[in-house]
C-alpha cells in the first residue's frame, strides 16, 4: 500500500480569481510581501500494490479524471503508507 499525494493548481496562463481575491485580503491585512496567490486542490489516494506500475496509473487517473489539463497542472509525491 502506498500513499499518493496529488497537488492540483490552475495553470500559470489561467487567471485565478480566488487567488487574486485572497491576495487582496492579505494585502489589506498588511502582508504586502505577498506577490501572488494560487489556490489549488490536494488529493490523497491510498493505492494497493498491483502488477500495474504506480506512476503509469497515477498519471492516467490525473489526466482522465482528477485534473482538467486544459486549465490545470498537477504534481504528486508517493510515500510508503504506514500500516497500523
Amino acid at each position: 500500500m502506498r500513499k499518493v499525494k496529488i497537488y492540483v493548481t490552475l495553470r500559470e496562463s489561467v487567471l485565478d480569481p480566488q487567488g487574486s481575491a485572497v491576495m487582496g485580503a492579505l494585502h489589506t491585512m498588511g502582508y504586502g510581501e505577498v506577490a501572488d496567490v494560487r489556490i489549488g486542490k490536494y488529493l490523497e489516494l491510498q493505492v494497493d500494490d498491483s502488477e500495474r506500475e504506480l506512476d503509469v496509473i497515477v498519471k492516467e487517473m490525473c489526466e482522465k479524471l482528477l485534473t482538467n489539463t486544459v486549465i490545470e497542472d498537477y504534481r504528486y509525491d508517493v510515500e510508503e503508507a504506514v500500516t497500523k
Binding site: 490552475l10 489561467v14 487567471l15 480569481p17 480566488q18 479524471l65 482528477l66 482538467n68 486544459v70 486549465i71
Partner: protein, 228 residues
Amino acid sequence: MKFAVLVFPGSNCDLDMYHAIKDELGEEAEYVWHDTKDLSGYDGILLPGGFSYGDYLRCGAIAQFSNVMSEVKKAAEAGKPVLGICNGFQILTEAGLLPGALLRNKNLKFMCRSVELTVENNSTMFTSEYAKGEVIQVPIAHGEGNYTCDSETLASLKANNQIVFTYTNDNPNGSVEDIAGIINERGNVLGMMPHPERAVHEMIGGTDGLALFKSIVKQWRESHVSHA
C-alpha cells in the same frame, strides 16, 4: 422529432428542457437516465443544466464517465444534434466533445439574471431561425461559466466560425472574447451557458430561446421528412 433529455444525479433543468420541447415546441421528449446504454432511438440529445454529481471535483468532471456519455459521443459522431446548456456545456467540454473549459466566474459570484446575447453565427442547425447579429434576451444562472481556451484553440474557433453566441454588452463571467456558446467543427454539438429553455414563454419573461429549438427541428425535418 424525438429528443432525449439526459438526467444525471443533480441535474435540475431537465424539467424546463422537457417542458420547452414537449409543451412549447410540440415535439417528443423523454427523460433518459445517465446509466442508459442506448440512445439510438433519439434524433436529438439534450444535456440540461444543474449540478451533476454535486459539481464535485470540477463541474461536469464525473458526469463525463457516465454510461450514457459514450452513447452521446456516438450520437455526435453520427451527426445528430447534441445540445449542452450550462452544466451540459461543462460536461461536453470535460468529455472533449467541445474544446476549452469553464472556469469560476471572474467576479466569484453566482450570476442569475437575464442577459443579452448576440447571435454571431446563424448558419448552424441550432441558429438558422435567428438573424445574424440578432440580439436576444436569455437568462443565465451559473457560478462557473467563464469560458477559456488556449490561443491556438481560440484562433481556430474564430477561423471556423465556431463562436455562436457572445454576451452583447455586459459579460457576466469574464469569458474570453465574451463567448457565451460555441459549436464543434462539424456543427452538430453546441454548448452554451445561457438557458434558452427558460425563454420559451411570454409568461416567464420572453420567447427568444424558442427559435433555437425550432432551428433544430427545422433542420431535422428538412433532412428526414422530405425523403419520406
